[in-house]
């Protein structure tokens, strides 16, 4: 080796070493179907958005990988014997990203802001709850009635910095009808594991690891680059080509292909959302049916016939390609310990025909069905399968599958519940059964109450509602679970709904990345490790 070539070799080595250094920074690239639109943590209550902002902001509580409630910004809490006062002890030494200390003032401020007009999270904190600062690190919450699940959703009630919000004129949440953009929609100042480095709504968001985080990070990332990729094929291509490390979701039809490649795989698992069918049980004559003068769905026999006519195993294997967990209940098994005690009625088309004949429809009847086609995994295909199965027992379904924007405009309260038979999915926001008992199974008859607003067909049982009211204030977990079981038994015995399944999560992950998959479909990268 001449001196000259040796010199070249050395300089090449130096150059290589020089370029290798910045490459040591670990960047995780993540693409989701949905956008991160506003950084204001009180603007849109939606799982993907909440998960994104959970990297930046934190609540008084956290939820672990198994969804168990853990201390977050509050180290611990105590409940008074009458259940009316909760005392929260705040973590000391926590700093917001701008260096401001986290104190009781920020909690009181956030409690006001989250309940202000324009907030999409008003139900996170009861409107009558009063927040009292005891000292800088203690806050009392005074309630009008006991509420055992007060803090169940506080992992996504993110605490904001009072001083920062007031200084930047963003002390109120950004309302939908805002005429000027709010500071907090484009900037963030949380206490969490990552800081926002830059945010271009709908294009790209860059997160940088927060070196001053109050706890030891489990992740080994320096940077997260988030890009929304709306198109399924492009998102999968980006994963396969190695341009992104994590994608959510992977379309069912691409799972086998992703798993067949050497550098990526699909993480699957049951999601908390329950997909179910509902009936209009309130109108005296169905809107879309050839049965005139009466409503067949008021008869539990007809509902049972529909239930027994559906072959859930076929839906699972054919429509969902095995990626679904058939369900007997309107809540996911992870969220209710007695779920195992419930079983689906057997698939029995002959029995269904007999039930229909007993109910006075020996030749079946015709009814219209509403179905979204871009909301849940293979939603339209599920509906088509249901149409075929019901045809076998003589019921002719006229399927109306439409994009979610039109679907929800029609079937929700704002559309005057214009549906006779529909498919919907529901995840209880509180991860608690009461939410299902109240929103989905509660009677709609009191116009002043918001009970049953998502009970599109108005299944109604007064006894069930009385139980739900008791469950709301019962502090004893064992008693409470027993009552929940009773309430669910009332609904299942009357076939108020047809639960179908929990759909599956499908995250595409590069083999270089280790992730923890949480059943609520929150992609939380503060648990991610990348080689």
């Amino acid at each position: 080796m001449t001196i000259r070539t040796r010199y070249l070799a050395v300089s090449a080595a130096v150059l290589l070493a020089g370029t290798a250094l910045p490459a040591m920074a670990t960047t995780l690239r993540y693409a989701n179907q949905g956008d991160l639109k506003s950084l204001d943590p009180y603007t849109l209550n939606e799982t993907t958005t909440n998960a994104h902002l959970g990297h930046v902001y934190e609540g008084l509580t956290r939820r672990g990988k198994d969804l168990a409630v853990q201390p977050g910004l509050a180290e611990k809490w105590e409940i008074s014997d009458d259940g009316l006062t909760w005392r929260f002890f705040l973590r000391k030494g926590v700093k917001f990203h701008n260096g401001n200390p986290f104190t009781a003032d920020d909690v009181v401020f956030s409690a006001t802001r989250v309940r202000a007009p324009g907030s999409n999270f008003q139900t996170r904190v009861p409107s009558s709850a009063e927040f009292v600062k005891v000292d800088d690190y203690t806050v009392d919450v005074k309630l009008k009635s006991p509420n055992p699940i007060l803090n169940y959703q506080w992992d996504t009630w993110y605490i904001m910095d009072k001083e920062w919000a007031e200084a930047n004129n963003t002390a109120g949440p950004t309302p939908a009808a805002a005429t000027t953009p709010s500071y907090s929609a484009l900037n963030a100042n949380g206490t969490g594991a990552f800081k926002i480095e830059s945010h271009q709504p709908g294009v790209k968001t860059v997160f940088k690891a927060n070196p001053d985080w109050w706890t030891k990070p489990e992740h080994n990332l320096d940077e997260i680059i988030f890009t929304p990729i709306n198109s399924d094929a492009t998102r999968v291509a980006a994963l396969l080509s190695g341009e992104v490390d994590v994608i959510e979701p992977v379309p069912l039809q691409d799972i086998a292909r992703v798993n067949g490649t050497p550098n990526a795989q699909v993480m699957t698992g049951p999601e908390l959302r329950t997909i179910f069918l509902g009936f209009d049980q309130t109108r005296d004559e169905l809107l879309y049916s050839n049965v005139k003068g009466k409503n067949p769905f008021k008869d539990p026999k007809v509902r049972q016939a529909f239930f027994q006519a559906i072959d859930i195993e076929t839906i699972k294997s054919r429509v969902m390609r095995g990626l679904a967990t058939p369900s007997a209940l309107m809540i996911a098994p992870e969220l209710f310990p007695f779920s195992k005690d419930f079983v689906r009625p057997k698939y029995d088309p002959e029995g269904a025909k007999k039930l229909l004949a007993d109910a006075g429809y020996p030749n079946g009847f015709e009814v219209g069905m509403d179905c979204p086609n871009d909301r849940y995994v293979n939603d339209e295909a599920i509906c088509q399968a249901v149409v075929g199965m019901l045809a076998r027992v003589g019921v002719k379904i006229n399927l109306m599958a439409q994009p979610k924007a039109q679907y929800f405009a029609k079937v929700l309260k704002s559309g005057n519940y214009q549906t006779s038979f529909y498919l919907l999915g529901w995840t209880p926001g509180t991860f608690d059964s009461h939410n299902v008992l109240f929103d989905i199974e509660g009677c709609r008859d009191d116009a002043k109450s918001s009970r049953g607003e998502s009970n599109l067909g108005n299944y109604c049982n007064k006894k069930h509602d009385e139980l739900a009211d008791k469950i709301l204030v019962e502090n004893d977990t064992a008693k409470r679970d027993q009552m929940i079981k009773e309430a669910f038994q009332l609904t299942t015995s009357e076939f108020g709904y047809i639960p179908l399944h929990q759909q599956s999560l499908a995250w595409g992950v590069s083999k270089k990345v280790k992730l923890s998959q949480r059943a609520d479909n929150s992609v939380l990268l503060y648990w991610a490790r990348k080689e």
Binding site: A31, D35, K37, S38, D40, T43, L44, N45, E46, P117, N120, Q122, T123, T174, P175, A176, A177, A178, T179, T180, P181, S182, A185, L186, Q200, P201, G202, V203, K204, T227, P228, I229, N230, S231, A233, T234, R235, A237, A238, L240, S241, E243, D374, P403, K404, A405, Q406, Y407, F408, A409, L412, K413, S414, W426, G429, N435, D439, S450, E453, S454
Partner: protein
């Protein structure tokens, strides 16, 4: 000339108003925007409050009138999804779309003309047949399919080019450009081909047909007889005369390239106005939909006006017809 432009400006205003009115009367079929703003468990009272605060409870004509009154002052409202002024969002996304449209058009012109001239001159050669086949593909395959095929070939299988996005961009004032970085330039290749393929095919076929036509004319024969080089005849005389229809096509198609970039942008997650519009439709974001449709209408009107004016520059015979109202 001035009277002509003024008259056309009034026509343009009429077109914009019509587009706006049609758009507004269609929006109610797009779904209920309130459902996209609130979450599914938001109480109905709160939903009604949102609806009222957005003015969505008023009849469509009143909403349209209010939109026009604000638009006249340059205020196109605030996006429901992003909570930012629509004009800012569109301005932010416009460079992406215009750069893509520019590259696609340049690609279409350069390759269209080259392939057209070649296959015009060497009709029977093997390459000419290959070009004919490519042009058939360009005309018959839908854009999104071409995009996905290119992604799978060049991004997934070969790993040469990025599959999505714009790469790194550099800001010059309010304009963000992808022309100055390597990743920005490589990111432009696949979307430009996808978007420009159809125009390229069109140009190639026109140039080929025109070349065949022109090469048969007398003045080419005379040029040959005078002993000019083949090169001078083909490119100096023949090609020049084929370009008039090409200019017309390129001008008229430029508007469609910008408007139809919607599909290409969706496939490549290209952060331009088209992608913004598609997402706005999915989320019933009326302010973005309205502003985008008006903008596209405006672009079409302006391009048409420019083409009309250009004609008079190219062809003096048209000037008299413009001076007198037809």
């Amino acid at each position: 000339m001035l009277a002509f432009i003024v008259r056309r400006a009034f026509q343009a205003l009429g077109v914009l108003l019509t587009v706006g009115l049609i758009a507004f009367s269609m929006f109610r079929f797009a779904g209920d925007p309130v459902n996209q703003i609130v979450s599914i468990d938001t109480p109905a009272a709160e939903r009604e409050e949102v609806r009222r605060s957005l003015g969505l409870d008023d009849p469509v004509p009143i909403q349209f009138a209010r939109y026009l009154a604000r638009g006249a002052k340059g205020d196109f409202g605030v996006s429901y999804q992003f909570r930012q002024p629509v004009s800012d969002l569109l301005a932010e996304r416009m460079p992406a779309t215009l750069e893509l449209a520019f590259c696609a058009t340049v690609f279409a012109i350069v390759f269209g003309i080259l392939m057209g001239v070649f296959s015009g001159l060497n009709r029977e050669s093997f390459m000419a047949k290959v070009f004919q086949t490519i042009s058939l593909i360009g005309i018959s395959l839908p854009t999104f399919l071409i995009g996905i095929l290119l992604i799978y070939l060049f991004a997934v299988t070969l790993g040469w080019l990025p599959s999505y996005g714009r790469g790194d961009t550099i800001r010059i004032g309010w304009w963000s450009t992808g022309f100055l970085t390597k990743s920005g330039l490589t990111a432009l290749i696949l979307p430009s081909i996808t978007l420009g393929l159809f125009q390229m095919t069109l140009i190639m076929r026109i140039v080929r047909a025109e070349m065949l036509e022109v090469l048969r004319t007398d003045y080419i024969k005379f040029a040959r007889a005078r002993g000019l080089t083949t090169r001078a005849i083909n490119f100096g005389h023949a090609l020049k005369n084929t370009l008039v229809p090409v200019i017309t096509i390129v001008g008229l198609q430029l508007g469609s390239v910008i408007a139809f970039s919607i599909i290409t942008e969706t496939v490549f997650q290209w952060p331009g106005m088209g992608l913004l519009f598609v997402q706005a439709v999915q989320n019933v974001d009326i302010p973005i939909m309205a502003a985008y449709l008006m903008l596209v209408a405006l672009i079409f009107v302006v391009i048409n006006l420019a083409v009309d004016i250009l004609y008079t520059v190219v062809d003096p015979r048209l000037r008299s017809s413009i001076r007198q109202p037809a």
